[in-house]
């Protein structure tokens, strides 16, 4: 699920092939060098002439590596432009903006018609369509990486980097921050879900409207408002509109909470709300230890209902 050797994307599969070619070639070269050294170390052996030994140096140390490396370099450089073909910025197509923060991901899907869907800590993309990511950071340097789909790209404050990925196989893959970004760097992950294009369109359409779960569990919603969760979080269709923390509009339908930290269920939501920093160091969300078990259960139930 997080393996570059089990590719489900165009770039990942090309690079996996490159890897196997180089690994097999590398092992052959390594074995030859080691065997030659072992032979050279034998006492029971006639020394070869100095001229013959001297000839070995430019051939084995010069000509051979030049040949192999030139071929390898040509292969890799030929691959490069085709792996990440960046579209004309004006071209119509789905663009996903990702903003990294300690230790979560803000995600915005920008559709060609100008509408947007805001989400967090989960990436969804259609199979067979090239998706362009635009990446930046709100604080530290992070790196966006879904090994099964392709290589990584850094999120750097003050800069916007682009990455283009093409998923070839539907499934759920794990992505993770690859640049050390602070104390909970290890807990800055996300699920990436490649869906059939029709499913993806349906999913995106559903996400562009407020969740139908808003009306259920009204007590939980009241507590959410009373505790001013909206001063950091956004829930589409409510007063809560801040994007200082992760968007929660359809949080109930996400696979994980805490950016890949816990499987998403009511119990996990309760645990996270009570004391976020004990599960995830450096989390800026305050603890809600003053809430009663009943109150917690209500908030969690309401959030889980935001499908």
């Amino acid at each position: 699920m997080q393996s570059a050797l089990d590719p489900a994307g165009e770039e990942a599969s090309q690079v996996a092939t490159l890897f196997w070619v180089m690994t097999i070639g590398g092992l052959v070269i390594w074995a030859l060098v080691v065997l030659l050294s072992l032979y050279a170390s034998r006492w029971k052996r006639e020394p070869i002439s100095e001229q013959a030994a001297a000839r070995l140096i430019p051939w084995a140390g010069g000509v051979l590596p030049v040949t192999v490396l030139t071929a390898l370099l040509a292969y890799a450089l030929w691959l490069m432009p085709s792996l990440r073909p960046f579209a004309d910025p004006d071209r119509a197509g789905l663009r996903v903006e990702v903003v990294g923060s300690q230790f979560w991901w803000h995600v915005a899907y920008r559709r060609p018609d100008g509408t947007s869907v805001i989400s967090a800590n989960e990436i969804r993309l259609p199979v067979g369509e090239r998706v362009e990511f635009s990446l930046t950071s709100a604080d530290m340097i992070h790196s966006f990486w879904i090994p099964a789909l392709g290589g990584k790209m850094d999120l750097i404050p003050g800069r916007t980097n682009r990455l283009s990925l093409l998923a070839t196989k539907a499934g759920t893959y794990r992505g993770q921050c690859a640049e050390f970004c602070g104390i909970s760097h290890a807990h800055m992950a996300f699920p990436a879900i490649a869906m059939e294009p029709a499913d993806f369109e349906a999913w995106l359409a559903a996400r562009s409207r407020p969740s139908e779960g808003l009306g259920a569990n009204q007590a939980g919603r009241g507590l959410f408002e009373r505790e001013r969760c909206g001063s950091c979080h956004r829930v589409d269709g409510t007063q809560a509109q801040s994007t200082a923390g992760p968007d929660l509009s359809h949080v109930g339908s996400r696979l994980t909470i805490g950016a890949g930290l816990l499987e998403n269920d009511v119990e996990a939501l309760e645990r996270f709300i009570v004391h976020p920093a004990s599960l995830k160091h450096g989390s800026r969300m305050p603890a809600y230890t003053h809430l009663s078990a009943d109150e917690l259960a209500r908030i969690a139930a309401w959030l889980k209902g935001l499908q």
Binding site: A76, G151, K152, A178
Partner: protein
């Protein structure tokens, strides 16, 4: 008969005198020794101790990662442990161990009595010890750096980085100064202190490699020092060099860090190859095959290593065309590396190999290193690196390179050269046991990491989830680390419990051909007399050489004036030029190092007054050191060194060792300055208006400063010329005028940005202008101290028209100062006007 007996007596007396001159002080004063054997041993033992400490940190890291979701140690301690592990291994072990080995081995290997600047070597050692203990000790207070050994901003410039970041920046800057000092000493030693006749093409390969590496240090460390300066200015005073919100850019640090960081890898690796280049011919029983090939390959590696740094930045979003260029350059470095490996294989093929313990470590190292080199070829390709970058694949790769290419050769060197320390061998049985434990333990630890990385495990994570295919790989790695640790421990036991009762072995137990095997562990003088060298392997080719050297039949067999002396020879042909008197036992080295250490430690805690006072005391100590220990006027002009040769005891200008030291130091200094100028233009390239709409320093004050500094330069050069012609009073007057003009220059330099109200915390443009101007002004101030120093020397009769080395060196400093002023004021004053 009686004539022979009296000759014998003379020899004995001569030897007694020489021994007395080179003797170490006793009791606690032993620690004031500056002799290369003592400094080399202390340096090496300290670096080794730091390596063991960093190794324990690695075991802590492995213990935490043994099982998923482990809570053995906290995330914070984990981050401190891995940051310190990398930092200590790189800065406190890998580079210093070679400076140690070089200081220990080079004098006898080159046929010299001593390094040219023994006190500088001692100063470097004490700085290293103080800085290293400070950096390592921080973890016991939970204050160690915790943002990775590469210290990327904005994380490392943020509040979250805590005092650990300052400890890293200041502690290591201090150690980098020590490394530069050692590099200066090594370059001058190798270029100017070789035995007569040891032309460059007869130099032992170890000396060649160390010359290349020391040269690389001079160009690679200064960019990091410049980066540290910018970094610390941001941390202490909020100058926004790396803050994107105020025009800065975090990528500037990555460029500066890796312009240092990549050559650093080869600075570590080449000296290890140098050890193999000494060991392999000995055990193959023949001279190296392809001497010119290996020297050319080493030089080529050195050059190429400066053109590869961007391969550490393939995922930062740089244009694909530059990725392609740096991919190609990174592949290219594999070629000289392959040449070096095949030189060893060719030498073995052309000889008959005795497979001793040092050879075991050497061959094991090569097997591991070649694997690391091949994965290096893989990650050099940008598309593969996009996957592998910042994963455990890289962790595996870099450990294969560094442990195979550096640690194993160091252990080979330890087993090979140990007899030079006390005349005894280390245990062969323990050595073989240690080798096999280390070799298998290493591979069990690091091989699975390739797979863990490709399965998506990023570096620097303190824990990982259970169900994503990393568990067993990590468990295996941790078990391997324990085996590797046992192997290392066996070597430690072998070194520390070294059999004292064992009899002294032969002088040249491996029957090696190079000159260092002449040196006797019981003596401090390097070589009893300095021979004329006619071969790359003098002990094999020059019959009777060892006996004649030890019998004192060669050059400079005595120390009749009771001074420590060595020969200075010409750079290319090693023709004798001068008898150099080197510094002896001194406290001033320890005092200076302690004071400079205080400056840096106090800065860390923002104790400004302590730091300022220590700074003043440090300058005073260095001036005292120079005044009493350098540029001394000898009691006679020339000295007989035997065989009818008489050499001067004093030299100034290009012929003196001090002039070369100044030249090399200022080359490094100029590189740091160039890095700051690079920063200025870097900001210009990334912004459409890099001034941020803010006022610049104008053209008037910068040009005034330039004019005044140019006058300061002209008066200094004029003073040197007048003094040489005997116009001592005119020279003194010019020095006074020069100091005044330069002081005015410093004032004008600072007035420019001051008068325009440039606020360095507002935006990166004023900040970079201020830093350039301050750099020039501080160098101007140092120039003034030098001018006044020469004036005082002249007045005290320590600088005369004939003995004018100080003025030559100061004029050389001012040449560099003139370039600094031209560039600084041209850039800050005229460049914005030209836009």
């Amino acid at each position: 008969m009686s004539e022979v007996a009296s000759q014998e007596r003379d020899r004995k007396a001569e030897e007694e005198q020489l021994r007395a001159v080179w003797e170490n002080p006793s009791g606690w004063r032993y620690w004031t020794s500056v002799n290369n054997y003592q400094i080399g041993l202390w340096y090496g033992a300290t670096a080794f101790a730091f390596m063991l400490f960093a190794g324990l940190l690695a075991l802590l890291v492995r213990a935490q990662l043994a099982v998923p979701e482990n809570d053995l140690i906290s995330a914070d301690l984990y981050n401190q442990a891995y940051t310190l592990h990398g930092t200590v291994m790189m800065f406190l072990f890998a580079v210093p161990i070679f400076e140690a080995v070089a200081i220990f081995l080079l004098p006898p290997m080159l046929g010299a009595r001593e390094m040219p600047f023994p006190r500088l070597g001692a100063f470097g050692f004490w700085s290293f010890l103080i800085g290293g203990v400070f950096v390592c000790g921080s973890i016991f207070f939970g204050a160690a750096p915790s943002t990775g050994w590469f210290m990327y901003p904005p994380l490392a410039t943020s509040e979250q980085a805590g005092i650990g970041a300052d400890i890293w920046l200041l502690g290591l800057s201090f150690i980098e100064v020590a490394s530069l000092a050692a590099a200066v000493e090594l370059i001058v030693g190798i270029m100017k202190c070789r035995a007569p006749g040891m032309r460059v093409n007869l130099m032992p390969l170890f000396a060649w490699y160390l010359l290349i590496v020391a040269g690389m240090i001079v160009f690679a460390f200064p960019p990091l020092i410049a980066g540290d300066l910018l970094f610390e200015m941001q941390r202490m005073f909020d100058w926004p060099f790396f803050d994107a919100a105020r025009g800065g850019d975090p990528l500037l640090w990555q460029h500066l860090f890796w312009i240092f960081g990549h050559p650093e890898v080869y600075i570590i690796f080449l000296p290890a190859i140098a050890l193999l280049a000494m060991i392999v011919p000995t055990f193959a029983g023949r001279p190296i095959v392809g001497y010119s090939w290996i020297v050319l390959a080493a030089v080529g590696t050195g050059f190429l290593s400066f053109g590869l740094w961007v391969h550490h930045m393939f995922a930062t979003g740089l244009p694909q065309i530059s990725l392609a260029f740096f991919s190609a350059a990174s592949e290219a470095v594999a070629i000289p590396t392959a040449v070096q490996i095949f030189v060893f294989i060719a030498t073995m093929l052309a000889g008959r190999v005795i497979f001793s313990t040092p050879m075991l470590f050497a061959m094991g190292g090569i097997a591991i290193f070649v694997m690391g080199g091949l994965t290096g070829v893989m990650v050099a390709l940008a598309p593969f690196d996009w996957q592998a970058h910042d994963t455990y694949f890289i962790v595996a790769h870099l450990h294969y390179v560094l442990i195979g290419g550096m640690l194993f050769p160091v252990f080979a060197g330890l087993y090979y050269y140990y007899p030079l320390i006390d005349g005894k061998h280390m245990s062969d049985r323990v050595g073989r046991f240690a080798f096999w434990m280390m070799f298998t333990g290493f591979n069990i630890t690091f091989f699975p990491m390739h797979l863990a990385g490709l399965r998506g495990m990023p570096r620097r994570v303190y824990t990982y989830p259970a169900d994503i295919g990393w568990d067993w790989l990590n468990l295996v790695s941790t078990m391997g680390a324990v085996v590797l640790g046992i192997g290392m421990f066996a070597v430690v036991v072998d070194v520390t419990l070294h059999r004292r009762n064992k009899p002294r072995g032969e002088q040249n137990p491996w029957n090696a051909g190079t000159l260092e095997w002449i040196s006797e562990p019981e003596e401090n003088w390097g070589v009893r007399s300095i021979p004329r060298i006619e071969s790359r392997y003098p002990l094999w080719d020059q019959k009777d050489l060892a006996r004649a050297v030890r019998a004192g039949e060669w050059y400079l067999p005595d120390a009749s004036e009771g001074r420590r002396e060595t020969l200075v020879t010409s750079v290319l042909d090693a023709e004798p030029e001068q008898v150099l008197r080197v510094g002896g036992t001194a406290y001033v080295t320890i005092v200076s190092a302690a004071l400079l250490g205080t400056v840096f430690v106090a800065l860390t805690f923002k104790w400004w007054i302590v730091s300022g006072l220590a700074g003043v005391a440090f300058v005073a100590a260095v001036l005292w050191w120079l005044w009493t220990g350098t540029g001394e006027i000898p009691e006679q002009e020339e000295k007989h060194i035997g065989h009818g040769i008489s050499l001067p005891l004093y030299a100034s200008g290009v012929k003196s060792a001090g002039w070369w030291a100044m030249f090399i130091t200022m080359t490094g200094d100029g590189t740091a300055f160039a890095s700051l100028v690079f920063g200025y233009f870097f900001f210009w390239t990334i912004h459409s208006d890099f001034t941020g709409g803010l006022a610049g320093p104008g053209a008037f004050w910068p040009l005034a400063a330039l004019g005044l500094f140019a006058a300061g330069w002209a008066t200094t050069v004029g003073a040197r010329e007048l003094n040489r012609r005997g116009a001592v009073f005119a020279a003194r007057a010019l020095l006074v005028a020069g100091a005044l003009l330069s002081a005015a220059g410093c004032g004008a330099a600072l007035t420019g940005p001051w008068a325009s109200g440039m606020d360095p915390t507002a935006h990166v443009y004023p900040a970079i202008v201020w830093i350039l101007v301050i750099w020039a002004a501080v160098h101007g101030a140092v120039g003034i101290i030098m001018q006044v120093y020469c004036l005082a020397r002249s007045l005290a009769g320590r600088l005369t028209p004939r003995h004018d080395m100080d003025l030559h060196n100061v004029a050389l400093y001012w040449h560099f100062m003139l370039v600094t002023a031209l560039v600084t004021f041209g850039v800050v004053g005229l460049f914005p006007e030209a836009l």
